[in-house]
């Protein structure tokens, strides 16, 4: 197992200094999804083919430009994992028939937003896990249909304002637990990551590289345009998501869920909430103590099951 292999990432000094993803992409300034993708690609390397579903990242490869040094295939919103199935199977067939050398082989990586991952693409994702497809799935989760202007999605957290929940109460629903849904399919690996915790992210990419089968990642993706905050706060908000306990960093492997970073002294959730315009109705014109306490209570209840 991985314990016996040399560990590449012990401290942030071990993180790759060479950045593989090209610059000049049309994503928004401070995009937390791109932040995580950058770090992931730096560890994974260039022998990849990214299979994409409709979302913000679809605009990374706009004819005739691409930031990727490997392959890219845009599919549709619902079926990127099925696209990965076809590519993986084809590469395996070509290898078996001696038409593709081992060193020409590629890691197949699905990249979708939460709109595809939590909803429309869930059936195709479940199917890919049923078939034990050897692939990586990165969901950049900005908690709404971001590319169309941040309407609420099944990933939207309770009470957040979105462009389809603009009223004074925000989104009445609750963020779906995609980690558990994916883990229930018993894939080789599931983990949550975030760009603001690069060492944790790099360790997880390293670990999944040693595994075969479906390797699933959900990255919380702070979104300046969708969450209404200044792009310079992306990293800070990401760190607060972890230190307040709102975004638990964890992994599922061999049937066990392990938390990879347990915030010993969790900061109050309001430190995370108050930096974001999508929660401004909880603080203005007056503090909504009940709502803030409700969010805090949910986070506390989650960690009570962990600690």
């Amino acid at each position: 197992m991985s314990e016996e292999q040399p560990v590449r990432f012990r401290s942030t000094r071990d993180l790759p200094s060479a950045h593989l993803l090209g610059t000049g992409t049309p994503t928004c300034a401070g995009c937390g999804g791109l932040e995580a993708l950058h770090q992931m690609v730096d560890v994974l390397g260039n022998k990849t083919v990214f299979v994409n579903a409709a979302g913000c990242m679809t605009l990374l490869a706009v004819y005739p430009f691409t930031p990727f040094r490997g392959g890219w295939l845009y599919t549709a919103m619902a079926s990127a994992p099925a696209g990965a199935q076809g590519v993986r199977d084809a590469l395996d067939i070509l290898k078996a028939k001696g038409k593709l050398l081992e060193e020409e082989d590629l890691e197949v990586v699905v990249i979708t937003g939460d709109g595809a991952a939590y909803g429309m693409g869930l059936s195709a994702t479940s199917g890919a896990m049923d078939r034990d497809l050897d692939f990586i799935y990165l969901c950049y989760d900005n908690e709404g249909y971001g590319n169309t202007g941040q309407q609420y999605s099944p990933a939207t957290p309770h009470l957040a304002l979105t462009s389809t929940s603009k009223g004074s109460h925000g989104y009445p629903g609750f963020k779906k637990d995609l980690f558990s849904i994916w883990a229930a399919n018993n894939p080789a690996y599931v983990a949550t990551i975030i760009g603001a915790e690069p060492l944790d992210l790099a360790k997880k990419i390293e670990k999944l590289q040693s595994l075969k089968g479906p390797r699933m990642l959900i990255s919380l993706a702070p979104c300046p345009t969708g969450w209404d905050f200044d792009p310079r706060h992306t990293v800070e908000i990401g760190r607060l998501a972890v230190s307040t306990g709102i975004w638990p960093l964890k992994e599922y492997v061999d049937g066990q869920v392990v938390h990879t970073k347990v915030p010993r002294q969790r900061k109050p959730v309001e430190e995370y909430l108050k930096l974001q315009g999508r929660y401004k109705h909880l603080f203005h014109p007056q503090r909504n103590e009940a709502a803030i306490a409700e969010i805090q209570a949910r986070v506390d209840a989650y960690w009570a099951t962990v600690e």
Partner: protein, 421 residues
């Protein structure tokens, strides 16, 4: 070569095997399922060196078909009806990827109401997506057309996916004698798949199916796809001739049956055209100068060939086994478009709709259509479009409605529909 009794589904499965498809993404749906069952059995027995994967939907199945073809392998897949429509987004998408592979569609009427029996609304819903379309009227044609479809789809001037269509039940489950080419001859005809630029290799990174910004680049790629489809016309003729030389069967893009001196013409697609052939024989015996024209290739549409074959005829009846709600027969409008502006076009182009959901078209109905054509030709007035339906069928329907009404009143729900006590 051997002669076997095969269903249309069996012929389609044999074609996939003879074409040496590498990859078969699959999903069951009646009446197509026998194709993937047969292929699965051959793979399990080691008789067919391919990989079959059952996806969780036709949408995913078409995505995997396209992405595997994008990665450089030869792909075969099959579906029907609701499955084709469920995959519709991906039909348009993968055609835009310019990936050559073959999809066999076993036609079946669309919901609602839900049914299992055939008509052509499913396949015609895919008319504009960019797939080439070949329509078959016999099990032999299913086999031959599928082999030809690989050549056509993979041709350097075309590079588009192709649909081979056969009618559910009438062909899918009907056994006919089929000449099965021997494996080596078939392989020699189809040839190896040359992926050209379709690949994902570490040493040759490639972005496929990227987004475009603006109407200029978008139009460029859309026009390219259209022009590639049109180029399939010329390519088709060469491939059909080569097939005929090798196997002794010529499948033209349009079947012209007893058309030489025909004044009146039935136009039909698919297996029901064999009913029109029988009617033509009977009418010929009764002294009619009548023939039948059957488009095998619908996309690209052989416009010039249609014009050449219909020029100077007195009247044409297009019998559509489909219905475009609020418009009528799709094939009728295709033919009207193809013939418009031709100086010696048939003055009468009548529209009939029949055979929906597998409803039979009887010989008497063909005779009646011929009479309508003659009257229209004599009077110089195009008849109104007709929906084929008999008094007996209406009476039968009224009887079912009466039974339903009686059942409801006996259950004590009065006349309220769907009421609960």
């Amino acid at each position: 070569m051997s002669r076997q009794l095969l269903t249309g589904n069996g012929a389609a499965a044999w074609a996939a095997r003879l074409a040496q498809a590498d990859y078969i993404p699959a999903f069951p749906i009646t009446p197509q399922t026998e194709i993937i069952e047969q292929i699965g059995l051959w793979i399990d027995r080691g008789e067919f060196d391919a990989r079959m994967v059952t996806l969780e939907s036709e949408h995913s199945m078409l995505t995997a078909a396209g992405s595997a073809a994008s990665s450089g392998v030869r792909v075969f897949t099959a579906t029907s009806s609701q499955g084709l429509l469920y995959a519709m987004e991906m039909l348009y998408t993968v055609a835009g990827w310019r990936v050559p592979f073959v999809l066999v569609n076993v036609s079946r009427g669309l919901s609602a109401p839900i049914t299992l029996e055939p008509d052509h609304n499913d396949i015609l819903a895919a008319r504009d997506c960019g797939f080439l379309q070949i329509h078959c009227a016999s099990c032999q044609e299913v086999l031959d057309s599928t082999l030809m479809a690989y050549r056509l789809a993979e041709h350097v001037h075309v590079r588009l996916p192709a649909i081979v269509n056969l009618d559910g039940f009438y062909l899918s489950f009907t056994r006919e004698p089929v000449d099965l080419p021997d494996a080596r001859q078939a392989a020699a005809f189809v040839g190896d798949f040359d992926p050209e630029n379709l690949m994902f290799h570490a040493s040759a990174p490639l972005s496929q199916a990227t987004a475009v910004l603006g109407g200029g680049p978008y139009s460029y790629f859309r026009y390219e796809t259209h022009l590639a489809s049109e180029q399939a016309l010329e390519v088709y003729e060469d491939i059909a001739n080569e097939f005929a030389e090798r196997f002794g069967r010529l499948h033209e893009m349009l079947e012209a049956y007893r058309m030489d001196d025909a004044e009146y013409v039935f136009v039909m697609m698919g297996s029901f055209a064999s009913k029109a052939r029988d009617a033509v024989d009977s009418l010929r015996e009764a002294g009619w100068k009548i023939g039948m024209l059957r488009p095998r290739l619908l996309r690209p549409l052989p416009r010039e060939q249609i014009r050449a074959l219909l020029k100077g005829r007195r009247a044409v009846a297009v019998v559509d086994q489909n219905i475009s709600m609020g418009m009528g027969g799709v094939l009728h409008s295709e033919f009207a478009g193809a013939l418009y502006g031709l100086s010696d076009a048939p003055p009468i182009l009548a529209s009939f709709i029949g055979g929906l959901g597998g409803r039979d078209i009887r010989q008497q109905e063909f005779f009646r259509m011929a009479e309508v054509l003659k009257q229209a030709s004599d009077s110089g007035t195009t008849p109104k479009p007709r929906l084929l339906y008999t008094e007996e069928e209406l009476a039968e329907m009224r009887k079912l409605q009466a039974i339903a009404g009686l059942e409801r009143s006996e259950l004590g729900n009065g006349t309220k529909q769907g009421g609960t006590p």
